[in-house]
């Protein structure tokens, strides 16, 4: 499908401020969504008993919403450090698969640049970056810029949520809970392979739903569905 461009990848990968800016602009809606989710996490963290600085610290350093929400769910006083770390690992294990998909893009960059991109990788900006890469984006700083603007939104949202507490009404009333599905749907429509090459997606959907039934909690269904879909794609004949 992309044979010609795949071979020139290595030489044309860049890491520039302009690329970071492109990422930040494209992912602006995600940054706004991050503020909204940050609000939710800030409120939850306050209710759980975390101080403002602790909540901000968690958002700044962990920067992974689902795992932080779950941590609040199972939080104890004093916290069970090992249990929380294991839970975070189980939920964020999907990053491993995402990072693997970034390897061809980041492989030939200096370690500092490739790891800056990986450090700022989240589900949504990763999906956006992969979709834009298909359209010719080659600048790895795209991931840093898009991730950084989401990070700012996430940390600010956390602070505001913690400070404002229950004053803010139910974010669901504004439809905030559906921003992320909407965004993923958009990236999906730009990754559309055509009806005749849809079996990897179908396999991924079936595997993910099954895994979600059998292993609820965590994000194993994402890992399983992604790997099954990719395997089916790998087995497909090129044409």
């Amino acid at each position: 499908m992309e044979d010609s461009s795949a071979k020139s990848d290595a030489s044309s990968v860049t890491f520039t401020l302009a690329g970071a800016r492109r990422g930040a602009v494209v992912c602006l809606p995600l940054a706004l969504a991050s503020i909204a989710f940050g609000l939710g996490f800030g409120i939850l963290a306050r209710d759980t008993g975390l101080g403002l600085v602790q909540a901000l610290g968690m958002s700044a350093f962990v920067f992974a919403g689902a795992s932080q929400m779950v941590a609040m769910d199972v939080w104890t006083v004093p916290p069970a450090v090992l249990g929380l770390a294991v839970a975070a690992f189980a939920i964020n294990i999907r990053h491993v698969v995402m990072g693997a998909a970034l390897r061809p893009w980041l492989r030939d960059l200096p370690l500092l640049q490739s790891h800056a991109a990986l450090t700022f990788m989240t589900d949504a900006n990763w999906a956006q970056a992969m979709a834009d890469r298909r359209k010719g984006e080659r600048d790895a700083a795209f991931i840093v810029g898009s991730g950084a603007i989401m990070w700012v939104g996430w940390v600010c949202g956390t602070g505001i949520g913690h400070l404002a507490g229950g004053v803010i009404g139910d974010p669901k009333a504004f439809g905030i809970d559906v921003i992320v599905p909407a965004f993923f749907a958009l990236t999906l429509s730009s990754l559309w392979p055509g009806v005749r090459r849809l079996h990897p997606w179908l396999a991924a959907a079936v595997a993910a739903v099954l895994a979600h039934e059998l292993m609820p909690g965590g994000a194993w269904h994402v890992v399983v569905g992604g790997l099954v879909g990719a395997t089916v794609g790998g087995l497909m004949r090129e044409d």
């Binding site: 602006l28 809606p29 602790q54 610290g57 968690m58 920067f63 992974a64 004093p78 450090v81 929380l84 770390a85 975070a88 690992f89 964020n92 990053h95 491993v96 698969v97 995402m98 990072g99 693997a100 998909a101 970034l102 390897r103 490739s114 790891h115 990986l118 450090t119 999906a127 992969m130 504004f174 439809g175 905030i176 809970d177 559906v178 921003i179 599905p181 909407a182 965004f183 993923f184 749907a185 999906l188 429509s189 990754l191 392979p193 990897p200 997606w201 991924a204 595997a207 993910a208 739903v209 979600h212 269904h221 569905g225 992604g226 879909g229 990719a230 794609g233 790998g234 087995l235 497909m236």
Partner: protein, 100 residues
């Protein structure tokens, strides 16, 4: 350890393992020869992963995410920017919730 210290240990432990998951895939792929099957599989991984994220949400999340997904794709296909498509579809859901 005092409670404050334990809280920060928990935060930093979570941060560390999460960072390991972010960089881990990149390093694991070093052990795998690229090309052929692996390259085709990596090509299909993004779509498969997003499908895997979305399908349980669409199947079990009630009408709201499904309506939002359909609306986002339709608005996007109509040529609107991602910003308009995302917030337009979210507005559709908020509107339905307001009415129903």
């Amino acid at each position: 350890m005092g409670e404050e210290a334990l809280v920060w240990s928990a935060i930093l432990a979570m941060a560390f393992v999460t960072w390991l998951t972010r960089v881990g895939g990149f390093w694991l792929m070093r052990l795998v020869p690229e090309g052929g099957f692996i390259r085709r599989a990596l090509d299909h991984l993004p779509g498969a992963l997003v499908v895997a994220i979305l399908s349980p949400i669409a199947l079990e999340g009630g009408w709201a995410p499904t309506v939002c997904i359909v609306a986002a794709v339709l608005i996007g296909r109509a040529g609107a920017s991602a910003l308009v498509a995302v917030f337009g579809s979210v507005a559709v859901v908020a509107l339905i919730r307001l009415v129903v």
